[in-house]
């Protein structure tokens, strides 16, 4: 290959050496405010780069270090090595637990997504305050999903990648199912005999995640 006629070939030829690509990916992942996908990297690196390969090198380089390169959904990000989490505790002094209402709402969204506010209220048996939903939105643990194609076209809520990130889940499918909850003793109360069946409304609510409970 002496003089390539194709400009695309030329720029491929000109891609920076892999060590340089690795530096670039390192800098981008470091500075990015959210996990970065390979497609995203491809767009931002000079033409002809191979971010997937650079990521492999980079991941290896950070193995055993204080910071790891981890996958978050389709994307990649640096994270403190899990065994060093205790060092971060100093900053989390003012940690506040989520209110019971918030964590329950979050759990329902995670297990039943996409789910409407009405459905959440049906499951919790109490009204969901605006503040609770706003807090979860603000934490970026939930976001608005598609509107339901039913009268009123209510909005639905789904959990976000940040949610998965925070709870160390690769996907919402990794949430333990009801059977496992029961096995873990977290769901020991049996339904009261003769309590009204929840009927269709439950079916509707659990459409999104129903497959979680099938195994």
């Amino acid at each position: 290959m002496t003089d390539s006629p194709e400009p695309i070939e030329r720029s491929l030829f000109e891609a920076p050496p892999m060590a340089e690509q690795e530096r670039m990916v390192e800098a981008i992942l470091f500075a990015s405010t959210e996990p970065v996908t390979v497609a995203d990297l491809e767009q931002r690196l000079p033409h002809g780069c191979d971010p997937a390969e650079a990521l492999v090198h980079l991941r290896k380089r950070y193995e055993g270090r204080g910071v790891h390169l981890v996958r978050v959904g389709d994307a990649h990000a640096f994270r403190t090595a899990p065994d060093l989490g205790h060092l971060m505790r100093k900053e989390t002094v003012e940690q506040r637990k989520l209110s019971r209402a918030a964590i329950e709402t979050l759990a329902i969204i995670a297990y039943h997504q996409p789910v409407t506010r009405t459905e959440i209220e049906e499951i919790r048996g109490v009204a969901v305050s605006r503040g609770t939903v706003d807090q979860l939105l603000e934490l970026e643990w939930i976001r608005l999903g598609r509107r339901r194609m039913t009268p009123g076209r209510p909005v639905t809520f789904v959990v976000t990648e940040q949610f998965l990130d925070h709870f160390g889940l690769e996907s919402a499918r990794d949430l333990p199912g009801l059977k496992e909850l029961r096995a873990a003793g977290l769901l020991d109360s049996r339904p009261l005999p003769g309590s009204p069946s929840r009927g269709e409304d439950e079916d509707e609510a659990s459409v999104g995640q129903s497959e979680l409970f099938e195994d």
């Binding site: 500075a31 640096f78 506040r96 964590i103 979050l106």
Partner: protein, 261 residues
């Protein structure tokens, strides 16, 4: 006026042109010192060797031109002009014997120092802004995992919390504990609705207990609930100015009557 003009004419042509160009831009100057610094550049010498006398001429020429063009100059430009005129005369005349205070040379040297210092600071500022800058050329961690954005984590929950919460919601609605109790609860809203209808007839003082609904005075739980609800309701009505309340002494019966508008 013609004297002023000749003063300007006496400037070397290059300076005069420069001074004229500057006048157009008078708003672009940050005060007299800035203007002096710009004028001094026409001398094309090291600021330490600048001729203050010549600079004073240039400045005074500028002021004169501005006057002629009826350009409003801020007061500090005129103050500087007066001071430079004074300095110029001191530089040109031999010092009065026995005169106190700084010499004209000292004053001129100080002005030169000020100009040099200002220019040095301008250059320093330019070099500073030419440096690589955070958020433009180099970057901090975008996804910090502590303090700053840990607000996210400040409301934290573990997977276990999440599972427990979910387990709670999946078991809770099977009990529906409050549904059973509803029979014995009289809400304030209900009481308020009732009282609104009744006070119209209560022209004279009447005891609160006499307003309790039928069937709510036997069972102690129901009596307590309805009494509390009605008490809260009349407080609300009193607040709105619709009833008056009184109580003879502690624990005495509470009495109310309609308040005439």
């Amino acid at each position: 006026m013609s004297d002023d003009w000749t003063a300007v004419e006496r400037l070397p042509p290059a300076d005069r042109l420069a001074a004229e160009a500057l006048i157009i831009d008078v708003d672009g100057f940050e005060g007299p010192l800035d203007l002096l610094l710009t004028l001094s550049r026409t001398q094309k010498v090291d600021l330490r060797r600048i001729s203050i006398l010549q600079l004073a001429d240039q400045y005074l020429g500028f002021i004169t031109r501005a006057h002629a063009l009826r350009i409003e100059l801020a007061a500090d430009y005129l103050v500087m002009a007066a001071w430079l005129a004074f300095l110029k005369s001191r530089l040109l005349l031999p010092p009065e014997p026995g005169e106190d205070g700084p010499t004209a040379e000292e004053l001129a040297a100080h002005l030169a120092f000020q100009l040099e210092r200002l220019e040095a600071m301008r250059e320093a500022a330019a070099r500073l802004m030419a440096r690589d800058q955070l958020g433009r050329d180099f970057f901090a961690r975008g996804l910090p995992e502590d303090v700053a954005l840990n607000r996210k984590v400040t409301y934290s929950a573990t997977l276990l919390d999440l599972m427990r919460a979910y387990a709670r919601t999946r078991t809770k609605d099977e009990f529906r504990p409050f549904v059973m109790d509803r029979d014995h609860v009289f809400t304030m809203e209900q009481a308020l609705d009732r009282m609104r209808g009744l006070i119209g007839y209560a022209g004279d003082w009447a005891e609160l207990t006499s307003f309790l609904p039928e069937g709510w005075d036997g069972n102690p739980m129901r009596r307590r609930s309805s009494t509390a609800a009605h008490f809260a309701a009349v407080l609300e009505l009193a607040k709105r100015g619709q009833v008056e309340l009184r109580q003879g002494e502690t624990f005495a019966p509470i009495q109310l009557r309609r308040k005439d508008p």
